[in-house]
């Protein structure tokens, strides 16, 4: 799990162009939206693309996506449970 969380941090920094952010700056349990990383709606769409492109996981249900994108840890847990 820790390895997947580290990998996700790096992927998110790259995909969302968070140039001033380092992986160690990101708290795996901090909210991705609002406080924490303060991502916006376009970032949410990029995260959906990332999940499909890099993990083959398609998030079509908005309420599921909202839960999955609570934090980096919830993303990692979802990937671990659903990755084929």
């Amino acid at each position: 799990m820790d390895e997947l969380i580290s990998k996700l941090k790096e992927q998110i920094i790259k995909a969302l162009k968070l140039e001033d952010v380092k992986p160690e700056d990101i708290d795996a349990d901090a909210p991705l939206f609002g406080e924490g990383l303060g991502l916006d709606s376009i970032d949410a769409l990029e995260l959906i693309v990332l999940m499909e492109k890099d993990y083959g996981l398609r998030l079509e249900n908005a309420s599921v996506a909202k839960t999955v994108f609570t934090s980096i840890r919830t993303m990692a847990e979802y990937i671990q449970q659903h990755k084929k």
């Binding site: 162009k17 968070l18 001033d20 952010v21 769409l45 693309v49």
Partner: protein, 213 residues
């Protein structure tokens, strides 16, 4: 009443000049992305959205940031400021970037973050958000910078008192070639309230002259 240009900026060939004087010189041979990042860092600002912008928006944003920092010292009302830009390549540079994310049906992952920049007027939106500018705005496509058109269009808005300030100019970028030329116009009425400002008459002749300066 006459209106006046209180400042202008040019960014091209790894050089930023403000009111005709060098402001920032980038490293020789640096590509646009590296150069504009150098300018951003030199301004000492923290605005993480900058990194998410496409290259056209980065160019316009940085030019506006430097010019408006100068204008803020004199003072202007963002809610009465309009933005009017021109270029020849529209958002084609980013359109191609987006096309590359969708051209392969086997590897079809359209990027929402790229897609949002596939309109040239997004650069105006970025500047408005940053500076809380709420006046009229338009982005025109022309083969080359058209001072006659720009002067007449902006003067018309001033004449109808729809704006009191205007950020105008040329913001062109395509395949690594770039050129920004922005200027700030103040209504004569507002300028007379601050007689210490050195300004040039807003006219086609002035625009032709400072465009090549």
């Amino acid at each position: 009443m006459d209106n006046f240009i209180s400042s202008f900026i040019r960014i091209s060939n790894n050089l930023v000049s403000l009111n005709g004087a060098p402001f920032f010189r980038g490293s020789a041979g640096e590509e646009f992305e590296g150069f504009i990042k150098q300018v951003y860092k030199s301004l000492g600002i923290t605005y993480s959205t900058f990194y998410k912008m496409d290259n056209l928006s980065k160019l316009g944003f940085i030019a506006a940031e430097i010019l408006l920092n100068t204008e803020k010292k004199i003072g202007f009302a963002p809610e009465k400021t309009g933005i009017f830009f021109q270029n020849s390549s529209s958002s084609l540079d980013t359109d191609f970037t987006y096309f590359n994310t969708i051209k392969d049906k086997e590897n079809y992952f359209p990027s929402p973050a790229v897609f949002v920049y596939t309109l040239p007027n997004i650069v105006i939106g970025e500047i408005c958000i940053r500076n809380k500018i709420k006046g009229e705005n338009s982005f025109f496509i022309a083969e080359t910078f058209d001072p006659e058109f720009m002067e007449a269009y902006v003067e018309e808005l001033f004449a109808h008192e729809l704006i009191e300030y205007a950020l105008c100019g040329w913001v062109e970028l395509f395949e690594g070639n770039y050129e920004a030329f922005l200027y700030f116009v103040r209504s004569g009425k507002k300028l007379s309230e601050n007689s210490s400002v050195k300004a040039k008459l807003h006219s086609t002749e002035t625009l032709k002259k400072i465009f090549t300066e």
